[in-house]
Amino acid sequence: MWIYEKKTAYPINIKNMDLRMAKYLSSQYGGPNSELGAALQYLNQRYTMPDDKGKALLTDIGTEELGHLEMIATMIYQLSRGANVEDYKQANLGGSFAQSDGALFVGDPNGIPFSTAYISTTGDCIADLESDMAAEQRAKATYEHLMDLTNDPDVLGPLSFLREREIVHYQRFKELRNYYMEEKMQTKNSYF
């Protein structure tokens, strides 16, 4: 089960409104490489991990991603806080305003709704961990694009934190993948 702790994983305190940046950030809220996709993918894969290391790592990283989803939502909320209809029109986001006013949308910046088709699971631990490693690399690239899109230090701080987390997760997934590969190699000397 999960329990809510009344704090964000990393302090977020954005002072300046920036509706465009809020829109771009939805790539990590409900896009193909989003925190939501990562959380669901790892928490879904954990049931078929072969040992305790895998079950624990996927549970713990999946849980961390849920906290990151809250960070992204917090950033989107704070970047749009106080915006009125004129602000939305000026930012070319009248369509977004018409549909949902200031409410968060679980989809990508182009308005495509989140899809579970983004989630990959095979039941094979090597295939699953390699898709997790790729997911971390794609999310890292997305964070780099987002960092390129802003100069606001209040936004860059949390973004660079989240980018580094992708690197750490990639590393841990790779270590686990290598560990399983070594184990398999001992039983049958083969390529994967």
Partner: protein
């Protein structure tokens, strides 16, 4: 008994080398950042830190006592989590298990201090056993400022 004052002594784990139980680790991540810097760097493990282009790490701004306590709580909580992921794979690393236990005691103390001043972090906290009910008080984590 651990104590914490303004500057926290137990943050001093920098360059605390830990053993490599498996040869499978292919980075040279055998030293740690200060717990106090872990949040800013995005990891406790020096060898895994990788900066983007010429972006420098951004200091976390602290302007009042609540933010200060929250910063300590976040930093220790985050370091515990980063150690947790490592220990899921390297479960025999006695040095880092010791560091985890050490920080865990500090975390519990800080949490009590934070909750006594700024309200419960969990509904089951003993600082939520009050009338009126405190859990639904603002600000919520996304509402800061």
């Amino acid at each position: 008994m651990y104590q914490y004052n303004s500057k926290i002594d137990y943050y001093n784990c920098e360059d605390n080398n830990y053993t490599q139980q498996y040869n499978l680790m292919d980075t040279n991540n055998n030293s740690l950042f200060n717990v106090e810097n872990s949040l800013m760097m995005g990891t406790l493990f020096k060898g895994i830190y990788n900066k983007y282009k010429n972006y420098e790490p951004i200091d976390i701004s602290i302007s009042n006592q609540k933010e200060q306590l929250q910063f300590y709580l976040d930093s220790i909580g985050f370091s515990l989590h980063d150690l947790n992921l490592y220990l899921d794979i390297y479960s025999d690393d006695i040095n880092l298990i010791e560091l985890f236990n050490h920080l865990n005691v500090q975390y519990e103390m800080l949490k009590k201090d934070y909750e006594s001043k700024f309200g419960p972090l969990l509904t089951t906290s003993k600082y939520n056993m009050t009338t009126p009910w405190q859990w639904n008080n603002s600000p919520w984590p996304w509402e800061k400022i």
